[in-house]
């Protein structure tokens, strides 16, 4: 009896191990090097992804799905995608099918939403599905659930060029985002452009400044955060650096700014989950 039980335990363990390995391989789409489709695309029409401003060890972490810590969130997102929730007892999968069906969604958000007559971004879109279709509670910004599903939606679009629309009804919101980008703020009185347009490629103390084209890599794993974080969290950080009062994640001001930043990223590849310092 003892022998049998022991053996059963052994078999179960092996089976689980095999499953886990198979799972990882599915995520990497059969390849150990992650963003195969991004390779050679990090510079387009003179625009450079922050990837090219990262040091080689950070790039290597992003390049390899096994090393990229952001993949833990993508995996979590995949589980949540298939999990029924809310009073409607539905999962994302019930309405949308496999996550891969969402390929092409990430590059075009934020976009104009006729219902609220303002922009909507991916996090807000996910939460709208939760509250309206699933009758579930919205997820909180920069917590693992929302980060996970947002990262998953970015991940399945890897390699596609960012391609937001700024004409038509989105235009006035784009203009607001643009105004935000060029407005000086905070006690140190700097605008986004002072760092990311005027001084990209230079050092501010130990920080190597990129072009701020963060429209293709968020949510990004930041070594400094030791976790994945949203683009709006990055905006807050950049606001605080100049001693300005930040906005809350999901504020209209940040969604408008997101459209502007993503437009500056148009043409560069989706590389979610990015890895940055």
């Amino acid at each position: 009896m003892f022998g049998t039980r022991y053996r059963m335990g052994g078999v179960a363990f092996t089976a689980l191990g095999a499953l886990a390995v198979a799972g990882v391989f599915t995520l990497g789409a059969g390849s150990a090097s992650a963003c195969e489709e991004c390779k050679g695309k990090f510079e387009v029409d003179g625009k450079k992804s922050g990837y090219l401003y990262s040091n080689p060890s950070t790039q290597a972490m992003e390049d390899d799905d096994f090393d990229n810590p952001g993949m833990l969130w993508v995996e979590k997102g995949r589980k949540l995608w298939a999990k029924k929730d809310g009073k409607a007892n539905k999962s994302c999968q019930d309405c949308h099918g496999a996550p891969e069906k969402m390929r092409g969604v990430y590059p075009v958000y934020p976009k104009y939403d006729p219902k609220t007559k303002k922009l909507i971004n991916i996090e807000q879109r996910i939460n709208r599905c939760r509250t309206e279709k699933m009758q579930a509670k919205p997820w909180k910004w920069d917590k693992d659930n929302l980060l996970g599903v947002t990262a998953l939606i970015g991940y399945v679009s890897r390699g596609l060029p960012v391609n937001v629309k700024i004409d038509g009804p989105a235009k006035p919101f784009f203009e607001k985002g643009k105004a935000f980008y060029y407005q000086r703020r905070g006690q140190l009185d700097m605008a986004c452009k002072h760092c990311h347009e005027d001084n990209a490629g230079k050092y501010i103390r130990a920080d190597f400044i990129s072009e701020g084209r963060g429209g293709g890599n968020f949510p990004t794993y930041r070594l400094k955060w030791q976790k994945l974080g949203s683009l709006h969290r990055r905006f807050k950080g950049c606001n605080k650096q100049v001693r300005a009062k930040p906005y809350k994640q999901g504020a209209d001001e940040y969604v408008n700014l997101e459209l502007f930043v993503k437009w500056r990223t148009n043409g560069l590849p989706v590389e979610v989950p990015g890895v940055r310092r």
């Binding site: 407005q183 000086r184 703020r185 905070g186 006690q187 140190l188 009185d189 700097m190 002072h194 760092c195 005027d198 001084n199 230079k202 050092y203 501010i204 103390r205 130990a206 606001n239 605080k240 001693r243 300005a244 009062k245």
Partner: protein
């Protein structure tokens, strides 16, 4: 008497011409001591009666929560401290190239010289947008701290 307007600052300004060509702009911003800009390029008079202390000035240039000048400027005389940025010009020989008064205006409000500069105004409280509560109405550096930094800048000559 010739009247001009100053683009940057936004403070209540009284402008007057003094003597031959010197054009003096009085600036008095909220919560700060008044000072005078001469010919749009210099603040010749110190902001305090007490002379600046170069040792404290050096510390203020390094301190991240104070001047943090090393964020943008290389200063070889401060090579004991790591990570000098390169956004602004090197200051290791600045005393050979600039008068004290020019340094003072540069620190107090560099936007008078270059409205598009990234360099913060260190003695300026008006016309700012969304300043964090903690810093509202306060300059980045006090008038004495500005004088301490100038005292240190005056020692920076590469020929030494």
């Amino acid at each position: 008497m010739r009247m001009t307007t100053l683009l940057a600052g936004g403070a209540a300004l009284a402008l007057m011409a003094q003597g031959a060509a010197a054009e003096v702009t009085k600036v008095h911003e909220k919560g700060l001591k008044p000072y005078e800009i001469v010919d749009g390029v210099s603040i010749p008079k110190p902001l305090t009666d007490k002379s600046g202390d170069p040792k404290r000035g050096a510390k203020l240039m390094v301190a991240r929560k104070k001047g943090n000048c090393l964020a943008c400027h290389k200063v070889v005389q401060l090579n004991d401290y790591p990570f000098h940025g390169n956004v602004g010009p090197e200051l290791s020989d600045v005393a050979s190239n600039m008068q004290e008064g020019e340094m003072r205006l540069r620190l107090v409000n560099p936007k008078v010289l270059n409205p598009d500069t990234i360099m913060p105004a260190f003695y300026h409280t008006e016309g700012l947008h969304r300043v964090k509560k903690k810093f509202k109405g306060k300059p980045v550096l006090t008038e004495q701290e500005i004088e301490d930094i100038i005292a240190f800048l005056k020692t920076l000559k590469s020929s030494q």
